[in-house]
Each structure stands twice: as C-alpha cells, then as structure tokens.
Subunit: 461 residues, 2 copies
C-alpha cells in the first residue's frame, strides 16, 4: 500500500533487469499502477534509461511524471523529444505546471516549448510569466471554473461537465459579472445539494477572501492554510478575477519558504534546488558570504580579548571558561531567536507584543541563568577544583564565572528575542537576524561582563 | 479583500465600542461576513467579551469559530455554556475537530462534552481517542463518502446528495466491498463527467495509496503533500477502510512538525502551544535541559584549554583568535547540518547517499576553508598587525590561525553532515543532532588542532 520507500531498491533492480532483457510490455505493466511522484523520484537513479521509461507510459501518466521531475531531468527529456512527442506532453499539462517548467528552462528550450503549445496556452503562459517571481500571479492558474450568477444549478452543472476536462479543480467554482468582477463562489458540494432550478446568484457565498496578483506568494499560501480553503481566487488591481491558487501549489510554496527559513537561520543564502542537485560551486557561493562576514565580525571579540590580555595572563584559568560562556550564550540566544522567528512566521507574535515577549524572556532568562549558574558552581568546585585538583579554581573564580553566566544568558535571551521582531518591523527578514549574528553580539557582551566581574571580584586588569 | 491584518486594531476598537453601547445587532452584522479563523484570532484580545460575541453568531459560524480557538479559550467557553448551548455547538462539529477538542480538555470537561454528544458521535470519538498520539488514526475522520462498486453513477450521486451534509469532504469518494475492504476511489469530477448509467466499479481508480491507522502522522501528511492528494484513505491492519485524512489536517501536521524541528535544532524540547500561550515555567522546562547538558559538555573544551595553559601564557595572542575559530567552526557545522536535516525531512537524501554527501561537503569545506583562511590572513596582517600595531601578530601566528581555520571548517562540515544521517540510520531524530551538539564536538577538535599547529610552527607547549 504505502511501502514505496521500502521497495525502492528492489524496484530499481527489477527495472534494470527488464530494460536489459528488453521486456518492455512487462516494464510498462510494472509502471502503470505507480504514482507519478514515485516514478519521478526514480529518475535520478535510472539516468540514461529515463527517456525509454518515459516513452512506455501512456500520455496522461507521462505528463504527470514529467511535471514531478527535477528541471534538469525535464530539460534532458525535452532535448530528446521529437516535435510530436513534445506537443503531446505539452497538451496534457495544466497551465500552472507548464509555466513552472518554462521558468526553469534555458532560452532555446523555452523557445521550442512555446513553438509547440497551442496559441491560447502560449498566450496564457506569456501572461503569467510577466508576474514577478514570488508573486501570487506567478503561481496561479487561469484554468478555473467561472459561472454566471444568472445560471440555474442545472445549467451550471452542464457547463462544468462540458469544460471540466481542462480545469485544475472543479471543487470550488467562482461567480463573476460580465466585467469579470468576482461576485462570490460556490463549492461543488453546494451545487450538488441545491435544487436544479436554484439560481447560482442565490446559493453562492458572497463573503470571500481574494488575493491580488502582486501579493507575496508566501502570504497567499499562508492564507490558504489558515482558512482551510482548497483554492483562493486571484484578482487584478481592478478586482477582476484572473486566476486561482490551489492548495497543492500553496503547500509547495510553504515547504520552499520553510527551507529558505532554515537556510537563512543557518547563515546560508537560500537555494532553490534539492541538496544533492546543487553543485559544489553553488553550495560554496551560498555559504561563504555569511561565514566571511561572521568571521570578520569576530574581530571585535578578538579585540576585547587582546585588550584584557594582561588579566588573562594574570589569571590564566579564566581562559578555560570562555568557550563554555560563549557556547551557553550562543545556545540561549538561538533558543529565543528561533522561538520568535517561528512565531513571527506563523503570525503568533506581532510587533505590538514586543514588551510582552521581552518580559517573558527576561523571566525565563533569570530562571535559566540561575539554574545553570548553580549547576556550574557545583561542577567547578567538585570536578575542576576537587576531582581534577586545580588549585586555581577558587570559589571567587567560580563566582565570577557564574555571575557572568547569568549575565550572558540574560543578554542572549533579550537580544535573541528582540532582534528578529525589530528586524521584521523595519522590513528585514527576521530569519537572517538569527543565531550567528546574535551570537557575535552576545559573545562581545559576555566577554565585557566577564572582565568587568574579574576586575571587581578578583582585583585584576 | 485580504486586508484583515491591517484592519485588526481598527476592528477591535469598533467591537469594543459596539459592546459598550450594547449595539448587538450591529455587532452581529460586523461579524457575519468575517472568516471564522479571523474571528478566532481576535479572541485573545477581546478576552471576557468572547462569550458575548460567540452567542451573537449563527450556529454554523459559531461552531467554525469554536474549532479555530486555542484550547484554553475553548475551555472557557464550554465552562460558560448551558447544556443546550453545548449540545448545539457539538452537533455542528466535524468528528475530527470534536476529537481534537476533547484531546485538549481536562477530564471533567471531557465528561461533560461526551454526555452531550449524540451516541453515534460519542462512539466514534471514543474509537479515535484510542489511537496513539502522533498516529494517523488520531488525525483521521470517519466522516467520508463510501460507495459500492455495483452502484450506477446516478445512484452514487443520489447517495452523495443524501449524506453529504455530514461528510468532511465529497471531493474524493471511496469504494469498498461488503467487508469494508478498500477497492478504489473516484473523484467527484469523474462522477460528474461519467454517464449516469456507468457503474462505479468501471470508472473507479484501482491504483491507490492507503495509509494505516498506526502510521506516523508526519509520514501520512508528507504523502498527501508529495502526491498532491486532497485526502488519503486510512485502513486498519486487515485492510478495511476506517477513515480518511484530509489535506487541511495534513497541513496542520506539517506546520507543527516543522515547528518541532526548529525547536529541536535550537536545543529546545518541543512544545505544542503558541509562543505567547506558553508560560514562563513551561518555557523554562523546555529550554534548560539542553542548555545544562551543553554547558557541562563544554567541560571538555575547558580541560583542553587548561591543559595548554602554558602555551597560552607563552603566546597570549593565541587566545584572541579562539572565539573567531570556534564561531566559524560552529557556523560552518550548522550550515552543513541544517542543509542535511532539511534534505532528510524532505526525503531528498537517504542513508545510501552518505558518501556522496561527505564527498560534496569535503570539497565545499576545502574551498570555504581556503577562502576564509586567505581573507583572515590578510585581515590579521593588515588590521591586527599593521593598523592596530600589535607586534605579537607575526606571519607565523597568522599561519597557525589560518591553518587551524581550514582544519576547523573541514571538521565542522564533515561532522555536521554525517551526524544527522547516522542519527537517522540508528533511529534517533536528526534534528536533535543539530548545531549545538555538533558545535561542542567541533570546538574540541578545533582547539586540539590549534595547539598542535602552535607546537609545530611556534615551537611552544
């Protein structure tokens, strides 16, 4: 039933074998009952056999598999297609999938694709291509069911039956006036439950949420998820219905944006290809800039240490606790910033909550800091002083380390929760403000506090 | 249109004012066209006025709002409900929503809820409650459309019209035999396009993916997203159809699991409540254990530093570069581990790819390391030595720091990419193996390398 992953390697061997023995009928029977997404996921492993497998599939399934392939695999197939083959696949595609494919292809392939799509589709593709990347217009489809308010239910159902073949979904239908302004919507369930002679205008839902073509695709996707809709209507600046965004595309957007958040929070530039499809060079380009910046920003902590060099020479044991302090500060800050960044992106926290958040993190930080400090004091006395017999670890040194620990955790939590909220307020991406950046700031604060306490309690510096 | 967030504070003021002036009819007209999710999101701000607003809504909308509320708000309302009010709301709920609510309530409230649901619903609720948390059974609904293969399309449509009111979705219908074994499925689109006298058995899709009640809810949600389905059938261990999981519930699961991944990667125990709803104490409990563990594990880096104390006293300038080295190591490791953890959870990378991943990270690390080392060498010579006039920063010291930098980045990338893959292989959660844990290991490696190079090139220690 749902055991594809377990059978994967077995399946690959079987395919290998059938291709070898040229048992194409058997191979086709093996592929026919499979889901398109599963066949597509094998593409990376069958490599040069992909065109052969693809040609064995019936038109409809072939197109479904085609949509699920990575763009480099799609390009390979298109380059190998005869003109007739290309046209056959293109005719089976939904508009939004065709657009996705065109967007990823090099210019000469795009030219060939557009040459072989029928004129109406070509026009629609070109229209959607005009919308900026990341806009709602770029992920919408124009293949939706459009009804008039004056139709009876019986006529509407007839209309749907006649045109359903080319529609991305019939589960939600949209009602427009003669100027294509959106008036309302009606679900297929409502249509089926209504009387045949009811008028669409009487049964339609007039309260609706619509998005605009230029709205950010992420906010559109979040709206679909928040309101539990299967599709959202997209209108142009004059309120005319121009397309719809369906839930499957919204999920893809949400997953992409989540991946981007993960990447940004780990100090990488976002990439839009799967890990193993990204070349070494591309990965390097995505990772080096932030590493470089953060490395150079560590100059400040280095300068602080150089400045207090004499204290460190006078009391060398202090050096041993720097990694622990900076590690704990980094981890505390990351906890707070991650919690806030996620809450911001799920819309659970807004700028107006800043002081509530700061007050909460303050209390959490005090409890965390005191707990950690107590544990650390015990550990320094029992392990470092008594067990490892290091006489330099005096109670006074432990006190300095533990007091710094409390200050570090406090600074880390407050900076960690405030920076992302402030970043969003001024229009920056909160995810970019995440751990590494905060760590650098907290490291510096922590060291300054450390030497201040050392001066006060140990009389050095 | 889609401007709820902007109008939020204005709306709250208007509600406040209408309640004050007791203009309930006007208030009702204000709420009527609003989406349930939006009304629910105001609940946190209207506080004690919530029951009043709730009572103004018509039954259907009230139930929709109820489902979208946080569980503490639901509890508050239930405690205030008369028995009749409670029954009215419960009658309007879909089964899976009722189960979600029951799961979150304290025992006495659960008792009262079950008392006021009709016997059939009570039986279904109790059945679903039996499935373990995080299992597919716990998120499914039993309110699906069930057809027999021997029905004609006309009869099937009649059956759907008669029963649709209580079904979570009619967009996908399932076909079972007399023993309730799943035979196939048919979409409402196919039904509408078929001839009235066609048999369901002839037009149904016999290739299907089904999940089991005990499957992990996350894998079920991922399957829905991967295959672009609106619903997946759930079967018991004997292959009998017992429920379905719909896409809206799958999205909720995906968002929850993503939040959990974020939390685990930031060294927190996962919580299932929104940030501002989690108390200080709960947040403290989620954050302290890992902080404590990571703090104590920094003992090793401390021991390494104590061991090399003499080298540090002999060449104090080396201390200044420790934060930079450990920061860069941490960031490099986080980049690799985050990329891999995300790829694992999107199923783009498997255990079999381990060597491909290691080889890729090795090359990325070499390029990153050399680039950073070159930049750092230049910076140490130009800024630290020449601009800040620190004679201790000799070319030899810079060489030691830069060589360590290359080694650190290499170790960080390799540990960072390998640990999550190995963790998943042995059944641990890769997200828990993330940055902080890796940072501790890399810190230790980095320091050992540092002092080794210092010994070799500077002749100290």
């Amino acid at each position: 039933m749902f055991e594809f992953e377990e059978e994967r390697s077995e399946l690959l061997e079987k395919i290998e074998d059938l291709v070898e023995r040229k048992c194409y009928a058997e191979l086709r029977d093996l592929l026919l009952p499979m889901e398109a997404a599963d066949i597509a996921s094998l593409a990376g492993d069958v490599e040069e056999k992909l065109p052969l497998l693809f040609r064995l599939l019936p038109k409809g399934q072939a197109a479904e598999v085609f949509v699920e392939l990575e763009s480099d695999e799609q390009e390979l197939l298109i380059r190998g297609f005869s003109n007739t083959e290309l046209k056959e696949v293109l005719d089976e595609l939904y508009l939004d999938d065709a657009v996705d494919i065109v967007e990823e292809m090099p210019a000469n392939v795009v030219h060939r694709i557009l040459q072989h799509t029928d004129p109406e589709m070509r026009k629609s593709i070109n229209e959607i291509l005009k919308y900026p990347e990341d806009s709602t217009g770029s992920i919408m489809t124009t293949e939706f069911v459009d009804l008039k308010a004056t139709l009876t239910v019986a006529d509407a159902l007839k209309h749907i039956r006649r045109t359903a073949q080319d529609k991305e979904t019939i589960n939600v239908c949209y009602v427009t006036d003669i100027h294509r302004h959106l008036l309302g919507w009606v679900s297929i369930r409502t249509l089926l439950l209504a009387e045949e002679e009811d008028l669409i205008g009487d049964i339609m839902e007039c309260n609706f949420i619509a998005v605009q073509t230029l709205d950010d695709q992420e906010s559109t996707a979040q709206a679909l998820s928040k309101y539990d809709f299967l599709a959202l209507p997209v209108v142009d600046t004059e309120g005319r219905l121009v397309g719809i965004v369906t839930i499957d595309d919204a999920i893809d957007v949400i997953e992409e944006e989540t991946t981007e958040d993960f990447e940004k929070m780990a100090a990488m530039l976002p990439s839009d290809k799967p890990y193993l499809k990204t070349g070494v060079w591309e990965t390097w380009k995505a990772r080096t800039p932030w590493l470089m910046m953060l490395m150079l920003s560590a100059t400040f902590t280095g300068m602080i240490l150089t400045h207090f060099e004499k204290s460190l020479v006078a009391c060398a044991i202090l050096t041993s606790y720097i990694p622990m302090l900076s590690g704990t500060g980094g981890n505390s800050g990351t906890q707070a910033s991650t919690a806030i960044i996620r809450a911001l992106s799920l819309d659970e926290v807004r700028f107006g909550d800043l002081f509530r958040v700061l007050w909460k993190e303050f209390r959490v930080a005090v409890f965390c800091g005191l707990g950690l400090a107590a544990a650390n004091f015990a550990k320094m006395m029992l392990v470092d002083r008594w067990l490892l017999q290091n006489p330099a670890v005096t109670p006074m040194v432990a006190l300095v380390v533990c007091a710094t620990l409390v200050g570090t955790v406090l600074a880390a939590k407050l900076v960690g929760c405030a920076l992302p909220i402030l970043a969003e307020k001024v229009g920056f991406d909160p995810a970019v403000m995440a751990s590494p950046f905060i760590t650098t700031i907290v490291d510096a604060i922590s060291l300054l506090v450390y030497f201040q306490f050392a001066r006060m309690f140990l009389g050095i510096g």
